[in-house]
Symmetry: C2
Subunit: 407 residues, 2 copies
């Protein structure tokens, strides 16, 4: 597997477009379109929030009931959540506009939205945006990059990645883009992520790979503990790589899963590092836990704790907060088995040893905590399971951004 330039347009047959539809933001693009030259099979994971946005319900239906997916239309600025029947009508109007312009069945058109909850979308602007983008679809890297910028809200950087790997002698490409930033506490997948591949694979195996990979990547990041109403990951596979159809698990399936995992983990870490107001990436790794589930619970509790996040912001090696978070995570363990370390690019430091706090070198701790990525590494010494979770620090800017986001 090798990493290549580009994102959602990297795989064969995938094109993208974007435009400034004036939905909410002035002077910037706020709509994007992803198009596969041939109908693709699709898989998706969606928010577990009971309050699902209209677009999430629309897409769940397509992934489940439509044989193929060919287009995704995304807007930023308004989430189309808590919008009643009018919200569903907006999804349908968008899909029907695509049908008319691109001659594809409207039930192969997915829609996704991100932004303020509880506001109605301006349908006329959406349709005008669809019409404009339908004439400017392009397979270039820059078209994909522009699309990844159009879906940003409070994100400060766009997020995309692409890789290539071989399946029975054919080069397969996998590319994706995502947006994150706030209301990030994935429980399916987080916010919006779109992945396109030219792999030939069955729908059943595509969904299986996506579900498995999401649980170890997007579902292991958190910014603020708030699971959004709009979380959506869509993956399209159009078969243009012309590999022999993958119909069963085995070497080819594993190659694809590894590549998918790399793409999802890369996008997920970019989201965590670019969390609202974040100044650094905050990583927690648990090893030798009794169960995988326990390892995940503890890793997520550490990076999800406001107190831990504030300590990371303040470069304060206040390790008791991490032990406290592990303790309320729901995992079962004995503090007398636990060893806790801080790790950075310039070394590691043990601060807690099987029940006992250590007298550690505060200068060395500060040096590690000032880095762009800070890792809390915990050896449970109780089993063989491990997990890693990613988050960010809690800063003044998070409060600033969210105290006046809507206005």
């Amino acid at each position: 597997m090798k990493v290549i330039d580009g994102g959602i347009t990297a795989a064969k047959g995938f094109k993208a477009a974007s435009c400034a539809a004036g939905i909410k933001y002035q002077g910037r693009t706020d709509m994007a379109m992803i198009y596969s030259e041939v109908p693709a099979i699709s898989a998706g994971t969606f928010t577990s929030n009971v309050v699902k946005a209209a677009c999430v319900q629309w897409d769940m239906n397509i992934v489940k009931n439509s044989e193929k997916m060919q287009v995704v239309v995304i807007n930023s600025g308004i989430a189309n959540a808590c919008t009643g029947k009018e919200g569903f009508d907006a999804c349908e109007a968008t899909a029907k506009a695509v049908e008319q312009k691109l001659n594809v069945p409207y039930d192969t058109v997915a829609v996704a939205s991100t932004g303020v909850i509880g506001m109605q979308l301006p349908v006329d602007k959406l349709v005008a945006g669809v019409n404009e983008m339908s004439t400017s679809l392009d397979e270039s890297i820059s078209a994909g990059t522009d699309a990844s910028k159009a879906i940003m809200t409070t994100d400060t950087v766009n997020k995309q990645v692409a890789v290539q790997f071989e399946v029975d002698g054919k080069v397969v490409t996998l590319g994706g883009m995502s947006k994150g930033s706030g209301m990030i506490h994935p429980n399916m997948c987080t916010m919006l992520a779109f992945i396109g591949t030219d792999l030939s694979i069955t729908k059943e195996l595509l969904q299986k790979a996506v579900s498995e990979v999401v649980s170890d990547t997007f579902n292991m990041i958190t910014v603020d503990g708030d699971t959004s109403t709009n979380d959506t990951l869509l993956c399209m596979a159009n078969g243009l790589a012309e590999n022999k159809l993958i119909q069963s698990e085995g070497e080819e399936y594993e190659s694809f899963k590894d590549a998918l995992c790399y793409v999802c983990e890369t996008l997920a870490k970019k989201m965590a590092a670019d969390g609202e107001g974040a100044s650094k990436l905050f990583e927690a790794t648990i090893v030798n836990a009794k169960s995988k589930e326990d390892a995940k619970l503890m890793a997520k509790a550490i990076v999800g704790s406001n107190l831990s996040k504030a300590a990371i912001f303040g470069c304060d090696a206040n390790f008791g907060r991490f032990l406290c978070a592990m303790g309320y995570s729901g995992a079962d363990f004995d503090q007398n088995d636990v060893e806790l370390f801080f790790k950075g690019a310039n070394g590691e430091l043990k601060v807690f040893d099987k029940g006992n706090p250590l007298d550690f070198d505060e200068d060395k701790a500060l040096e590690i905590m000032k880095e762009d990525t800070v890792t809390v590494f915990v050896n449970m010494n109780e089993g063989s399971q491990s997990a890693t979770a990613w988050g960010c620090d809690l800063t003044y800017d998070y409060v600033k951004i969210n105290a006046d986001y809507r206005s």
Copy 2:
């Protein structure tokens, strides 16, 4: 029932003392002692965190296995959590110092600590503090008030309350004090709370009343979602009111429970309003939910959401964040049944009506949100159960306090 002045020394036979032991804070009191003239029966609730502080384990043993409790010794500054065997030895040394000075069995002495996790307590200073306080125990209101100040950490105000009610013609008094502020997400009870009453009641019924009341009061507040290693509520009943022993549920038991509920709710709301960095009390009330459990989950999710808390700080009527939090709370409901209101002392405003966002008066919303207490009121229209939860806003000061708490 009537509210009276005072706190932990209000009930007959209860005395308190405090001193500046120099454990961590300079120039302020940091130890307190509560003493009942006669041995009292006791009840307690403790943190559900797997990582329990040494003092929590000490107290759980006493409440469970000792027939009586007579003294509680509290220190602020160091939590005595994640401290191994040395931490247990500190509890025992404290209790034995009390035994020697006050001639009470050491297994009737509870201990409680609050402060930094992962630091050892200076036992010599603890013992010196016990010796000093043993000679200055006093039943005055001011002695109780001073004790409530000595247990503060980042609290900005001390918290105490007392009430009187009648049981078979006898006046019964119930007084309490607590401290809160950060690492507040109760799952038993939150941080430290101490309640003394001169009621005569069986140990079994005292524990039953305490457990039931805590689940609707202390367990319904949150500051930052972090369940502490040290959460402890202790209640002592010494029988000096000389009412006929309450041995079964009935009118007398209910009178006591009402008074206990008032005391606990008052202390809990004071903690929420004085959460670290808080500028206001944030209340969520759910009515007509399918189940009590669902109502509690939704009320707690609203006041616990960082995004909701930041919106409350910014006086932004961004009601979608509350619906989002209800949606991921774990409760089951249909957004098309829900009506959501903002409520304040100066009126109320409906913003969401059974699936549809309303065009509301932003000036009126701002007026309500600028008040000291902001209530989100939600009518689920799906059942008959209700719950209220309390929290506070998320401010720059929360980040400031916790980015450099330890140093």
